[in-house]
């Protein structure tokens, strides 16, 4: 058993994680571990996370609050406060031959905003309220391009038109507070894309928006990806958004990646009990559940200071065995699926979507 695991491990180390195409990934994250110094000691927010991003694809990173999805993206961009953050020396974030985990600030500046750009959940807090949006677009262009003043302004207007901003010529001289939430998110996307980055990291880009505006932003991101070929890492807790736009998905739980698969495979044949339970617990359009009770996951996400030994989901999992509580499983290929589907579970669910997982549905989790 152990030997088998080891052999599989070697195999998967060699072949890389989940290649959908034969082309090498443009971003390759290996063993990323990010810790924070806190008053209560050092806490590991992201623990040995590995995944690949291929050119032109949309990779979803899904999980509940505190699972480490935002810390993962900010580690890639190195946007975490240096004094309190430790990125372990074994971590690798390979982008065009540079390891971003260890790159110095000068190298990072060339990458950040130019080659890898990021948009955030709350566009109001990421835009500077005292400058016009034109000024803010210009700042990025000044730093990363050789264009003159007129050229930059033309480019800024062109970018605003690209994100379907109505009256771009007039809007460019407005301040962020004059725009609606959806418009601000469009400005953020325009800023992120103005240097034509290879990778766009979108951290909950539509969470603060209304559903009709969310639909606008999602379809905009989709059409821009097709037009510009930008690879997208989409961080979200919304499985509907994942179903709508992602090609592949990494599911995170308590600082770990617990499952990676193509989006169709993940929705129809999830292998990790947590993924399955998460899919079951969302109300779905047109699906009436008997007695209107949703299957739930008992308990709450463990705090990072009180992680269980063994599998981190073991204390909430209906299938957990003594082995799960003692030994943490590795992220390994699902039998017959190779690297296209990886799961971190001793007893993966197997088979395509069996009946509902036997999840306890008593009145309430007693926390």
């Amino acid at each position: 058993m152990l030997l088998c695991c080891f052999a599989a491990f070697l195999f998967f180390e060699e072949r890389g994680l989940a290649p959908v195409t034969t082309a090498p990934p443009i971003l390759s994250v290996r063993h990323l571990t990010t810790r924070f110094r806190t008053d209560r000691g050092i806490v590991t927010a992201v623990d040995d996370v590995s995944f690949d991003l291929y050119a032109g694809e949309t990779l979803g990173i899904v999980g509940e609050s505190g699972c480490g999805k935002t810390v993962t993206s900010k580690s890639i961009m190195r946007l975490l406060p240096e004094r309190t953050t430790i990125i372990d020396s074994g971590s690798q974030i390979m982008f065009e031959g540079i390891n971003l985990a260890t790159a110095d600030e000068r190298a990072m500046r060339k990458v950040r905003g130019d080659r890898i750009a990021m948009i955030f959940q709350e566009p109001m807090t990421s835009l500077n309220p005292v400058f016009t949006i034109g000024w803010q677009l210009d700042e990025a262009l000044k730093y990363h391009t050789d264009l003159g003043r007129g050229g930059r302004r033309a480019r800024a207007i062109e970018m605003l038109k690209l994100v379907e901003m109505p009256n771009a010529e007039r809007r460019i001289d407005e301040y962020p507070h004059q725009l609606s939430g959806g418009m601000r998110q469009r400005v953020m996307i325009a800023m992120a894309l103005c240097c034509e980055p290879d990778i766009l990291i979108a951290d909950e880009p539509t969470t603060a928006l209304d559903v009709t505006i969310q639909a606008q932003i999602l379809s905009l991101m989709e059409s821009l990806r097709k037009r510009l070929g930008t690879a997208i890492i989409l961080i979200t807790h919304n499985l509907g958004v994942v179903a709508q736009v992602c090609d592949r998905v990494a599911v995170m739980y308590a600082g770990r990646v617990i499952e990676v698969a193509g989006v169709h495979r993940l929705f129809h044949s999830p292998q990790h009990p947590y993924t399955r339970a998460l899919l079951d617990s969302i109300p779905r359009a047109g699906r009436k559940v008997y007695g209107r009770r949703l299957p739930t996951i008992e308990g709450i996400v463990p705090g990072l200071f009180e992680l269980p030994t063994g599998c981190r989901f073991s204390d909430r999992c209906s299938r957990s065995q003594p082995l799960c509580r003692e030994n943490e499983p590795r992220l390994l290929p699902v039998e017959g699926e190779g690297e296209a589907h990886l799961v971190r579970c001793h007893f993966p669910l197997g088979g395509p979507a069996p009946g509902p997982v036997a999840l306890t549905t008593s009145v309430g989790a007693r926390p």
Partner: protein, 348 residues
């Protein structure tokens, strides 16, 4: 359990046979022409320069034991509506009849018995619990003020409540900050239920919670609804949650109800173009639907409630817009047996 309340003012109900499906024949809650405007002040003299039309003449009934959902985007007036019903906001005009009594003009003392019978829970469990009170004191305050149970039984009653919402007895001596979001929402529910209300306004009760916790809280609310025979007005921006949880849904847009229909009919029968757009803008549940159900993208934003358009509020974004829509506001009228629609483009 529920006290018989003697009311001073005469009942002022407008009965509407269309939805009066309560066993007593009379809806528990009957809202007629409810309007809530907020004054906007400005200028050097700080005079009223305009008003925000938050709720603009809303009428509906809620039958006893029914769960009615209110859905709409931010700024559509759904929260204001919920608050105006329990008189956390004083309505500008219109009436709210609760169990036959118009409570919109009751004086403070006369309102008290109704306050106990109608409770509200809020979206943000963090800010709606006093951070300086332990759970025991939070609950005791409300119970003693309204004399829900005899003094000697209060402590036992608190234990019972905490168990009912699925929390451990130790929770009693903790402060709100010691709990997670889901647990705090359970406390908010416990506090509302402490008064044995008949009617509950739930204002986005699960929107701030993680998916797995959201399911726990929805299940809890459904269990308690059955156990106590609650009637619920469930306000949410999430149509999928409403569809799962509610019997009927009211769709609001810029202070108006544009459509009202049973949740079972939502996908097949929804006729207002805004309801259809909301359904179409919701992300799909399954990646296999990508080809078959493209995302409906509505252009533009919701108009400002400060200066709402003259005709139909949705005219500026509507795919079916006609000349008439821009000048004349459609009224909510019955379309088919079980649904009301406010739209000129939708035939009878």
């Amino acid at each position: 359990m529920i006290p018989a309340v003697e009311t001073a003012s005469p009942p002022a109900t407008v009965s509407d046979p269309a939805h009066a499906d309560s066993p007593a024949g009379r809806p528990l809650l009957s809202v007629r022409g409810l309007v809530k405007h907020f004054p906007v002040r400005g200028g050097v003299l700080n005079r009223v320069v305009g008003k925000v039309h938050a709720v603009n003449g809303v009428s509906f009934d809620v039958g006893r034991g029914e769960i009615v959902g209110v859905v709409g985007e931010s700024g559509c007036g759904k929260s204001t509506l919920g608050r105006a019903i329990v008189r956390l906001h004083e309505p500008t005009s219109g009436s709210v009849a609760f169990d036959g009594t118009d409570i919109t003009r009751l004086k403070h003392a006369d309102l008290m018995p109704f306050r106990r019978r109608m409770q509200i829970i809020f979206q943000d469990p963090y800010s709606s619990l006093n951070p300086r009170l332990t759970v025991r004191r939070l609950l005791r305050e409300a119970i003693e003020f309204h004399d829900v149970v005899p003094r000697a039984r209060v402590e036992g009653y608190i234990d019972e409540l905490i168990a009912k919402v699925g929390m451990r007895a130790e929770a009693k001596d903790k402060f709100p900050h010691e709990f997670s979001g889901g647990q705090r929402q359970r406390l908010g529910i416990a506090r509302a239920l402490a008064l044995k209300p008949e009617f509950l306004v739930a204002d986005e009760p699960v929107s701030a919670l993680d998916v797995s916790i959201q399911a726990q809280v929805l299940n809890l609310m459904m269990d308690l609804k059955r156990e106590f025979g609650l009637t619920i007005l469930f306000i949410s921006h999430d149509l999928k949650v409403i569809e799962h949880f509610c019997d009927r849904v009211l769709v609001m847009y810029l202070g108006h109800i544009v459509e009202s229909l049973p949740c079972d009919d939502l996908h097949a029968q929804a006729r207002h173009p805004y309801t259809r757009a909301l359904l179409g803008a919701n992300p799909i549940d399954d990646p296999d639907q990508r080809g078959s159900r493209p995302l409906v993208v509505l252009r533009g934003d919701v108009p400002s409630p400060f200066d709402p358009p003259a005709g139909c509020a949705f005219a500026g974004r509507c795919p079916l817009v006609m000349d008439r829509c821009r000048v004349q506001r459609p009224v909510l009228e019955p379309r088919g047996g079980r649904q009301d629609v406010a739209c000129w483009a939708v035939g009878p």
